[in-house]
């Protein structure tokens, strides 16, 4: 069985957090789907709350603490990413954005990403499409078509209980559809190799020649 790593970034602020709950559901469904495809996966969960101070320090000082550096390496080196944020004031949270602000702009190039969000009412669900998806488009990540929004009411509705028996629009069905899309992308791609810019630098003759060609 080949193996992949799945990173889960949760931007929830409370503990326990419904954002983390959604992230865990999405990750678990993705793992099940991968397993059905004969692909094992290790999951690395990042609670951004734990790194809130380090993120601010990185924004101000320009370098990450060792713990944050390790976390960033884990996320950008994964084969797939589940990214979930609460929706605050019509968009993802500032903490969620801070994390994606401090990683290199090309670090998520081609990364399969499943987007999720939580909020008080379903009226905010399109924030996934008008705010969160463009962020990942900028990062040139490959977002899967289905993004999953969970409003508070979803946690009590039919179809949210994990038995898959709810209506087509129920939370469980949305989770399973999105997870299947992510699993398909992750399984279809070879394991991601971390790019090491220090291993093979662009030879200087090439740097000189690039100038002449332009």
């Amino acid at each position: 069985m080949s193996r992949r790593t799945l990173a889960v970034v949760s931007g929830g602020l409370r503990q326990p957090s419904s954002t983390r709950l959604l992230a865990d559901r999405l990750a678990a469904a993705t793992l099940r789907d991968l397993e059905a495809r004969g692909v094992g996966a290790d999951v690395r969960v990042v609670e951004l709350r734990d790194h809130a101070h380090d993120l601010t320090n990185h924004l101000l000082a320009g370098f990450p603490s060792p713990a944050l550096a390790d976390t960033i390496d884990g996320v950008v080196g994964a084969d797939g990413l589940v990214a979930v944020s609460p929706i605050f004031s019509a968009s993802y949270s500032g903490l969620f954005k801070s994390f994606f602000d401090v990683i290199d702009a090309d670090a998520l190039d081609g990364m399969p990403v499943l987007l999720g969000a939580t909020g008080g009412t379903e009226r905010h669900s399109l924030a996934l499409e008008h705010a969160m998806r463009p962020l990942f488009a900028y990062l040139r990540a490959m977002t899967v078509p289905t993004a999953v929004y969970a409003a508070t009411s979803d946690w009590g509705s039919e179809g949210a209980d994990g038995d898959g028996g709810g209506a087509a629009t129920g939370l469980t069905r949305r989770i399973e559809r999105a997870a299947a899309e992510l699993a398909e992308l992750v399984a279809a791609r070879p394991p991601r190799e971390a790019a090491d810019p220090f291993a093979v630098p662009t030879p200087f003759e090439q740097l000189l020649a690039d100038g002449e060609l332009n």
């Binding site: 320090n57 924004l59 101000l60 000082a61 320009g62 370098f63 550096a69 220090f198 200087f204 100038g211």
Partner: protein, 389 residues
């Protein structure tokens, strides 16, 4: 091993008094600081280059020439010279002139600059940063080594039969360092030319510095300049010292907490753990910096940032005194211990002249090699011909 100080020339309010020095005071203070560094036996004074407030670091060769006239021994350098936005022809002229005026006490560190708007202010595009550094330096390198240069590139107007004047002192260009914090391309550039590589690690963890220096060393060897451990490496540093370490922490913390660049971010304790900043007794500084070579190998130049964040001039002068009299003499001994004989010192004008086989007057008189006529005659004839039309 060379030890010295580098300054960014920031005009910053002293947070303990609320007083902001004037530009004039800060410019004059910079001269005092450099003179003090010379007096206490430090080897290098380097100034940054900025073209915006709150900095007084524009016109670096003016500052360095003035300091050069009032010092005897100290090497005058830059940290950094903006190779991206400064015309390489002007760099060639200004620093060759500085070489002559100071009898060779000059080297330079090339950098791309970290102030975005500087690029458009000088008609350049920040997205071309690496390409500008590569092309501009390629031209500068030739201007100092070839008396007559024909040149065409992307970023400045072409040159035909151009001679940069004055020619480098004794026919030997100033030694060049390339400074970069994050770009492997610049480490590659330094390695290609066999120039020095300076990693200003003062805001970075040692693990990152190690990666950059290792890359440079490996590629230095690849390009045939000698074994990797003979490559010329420099590091940044940042210290604040008092006899008792608690006093140092107490006195420096108010400056640290609101300092430009890292203020309001990591705590002093986090920052000292994660970067080379050392706040404590002179012995603590010695202990910390004696371990730098464990990370990057035996290196050639250690510069300290001493005069930023609004620290008053008197405090800075005291700090340089402690550095020069208590710390550096011990570090010199420690760094010499176990240093293999084949690891070179940083090149100086004298060592470069010796390597070139001795002094050579490089003066170019304006005689045309082909016709044997001097430029003035040609110009006179042209004028005469035009007046006949």
């Amino acid at each position: 091993m060379q030890f010295g100080i580098f300054t960014v020339g920031d005009v910053t309010t002293d947070p303990t008094t609320g007083r902001t020095p004037t530009e004039h005071e800060r410019i004059k203070a910079t001269v005092e600081i450099a003179k003090k560094a010379d007096e206490v036996g430090l080897d290098v004074f380097a100034t940054g280059e900025h073209h915006n407030p709150p900095f007084i670091a524009s016109a670096p060769t003016t500052t360095l020439a003035y300091i050069g006239a009032q010092t005897k021994r100290i090497i005058l350098s830059t940290a950094t010279t903006l190779i991206t936005t400064t015309d390489p022809v002007l760099i060639a002229e200004n620093y060759a002139k500085l070489q002559h005026l100071t009898d060779g006490r000059v080297d330079l560190m090339m950098g791309r600059g970290n102030t975005g708007p500087v690029y458009p202010w000088f008609g350049k595009d920040i997205r071309e940063g690496i390409a500008l550094a590569v092309e501009n330096y390629a031209l500068l390198h030739r201007l100092w080594r070839e008396d007559v240069v024909d040149w065409k590139g992307r970023f400045r107007t072409p040159l035909q039969g151009f001679t940069s004047t004055p020619r480098p002192l004794d026919g030997v260009p100033p030694f060049v360092w390339h400074g970069s914090i994050r770009s492997p391309e610049i480490a590659e550039q330094a390695a290609y030319y066999g120039d020095g590589f300076f990693h200003n690690n003062i805001f970075w963890p040692m693990s990152h510095t190690q990666q950059m220096v290792n890359l440079y060393r490996r590629r230095f060897e690849h390009y045939g300049h000698g074994p990797a451990d003979t490559a010329i490496v420099g590091l940044g540093g940042q210290v604040f010292m008092r006899k008792n370490s608690q006093d140092a922490v107490r006195e420096f913390r108010p400056y640290f907490d609101v300092a430009p660049v890292y203020g309001h971010g990591p705590s002093l304790e986090e920052f000292t753990e994660q970067t080379p900043l050392t706040v404590g007794s002179p012995q603590q500084v010695i202990d910390r910096y004696a371990t730098m070579r464990d990370h990057v190998g035996h290196y050639q130049r250690q510069l300290f940032l001493m005069d930023h964040a609004g620290l008053p001039l008197n405090t800075v002068l005291e700090q340089i005194e402690i550095l020069g009299t208590e710390v550096v003499p011990v570090l010199r001994t420690e760094m010499a211990a176990g240093r293999p004989a084949h690891v070179p010192d940083a090149p100086t004008h004298e060592s470069l002249v010796a390597a070139a086989g001795g002094k050579r007057d490089a003066t170019v008189t304006a005689v045309d090699d082909v016709t044997g006529r001097v430029a003035e005659e040609t110009a006179d004839e042209t004028t005469a011909a035009e007046s006949l039309r």
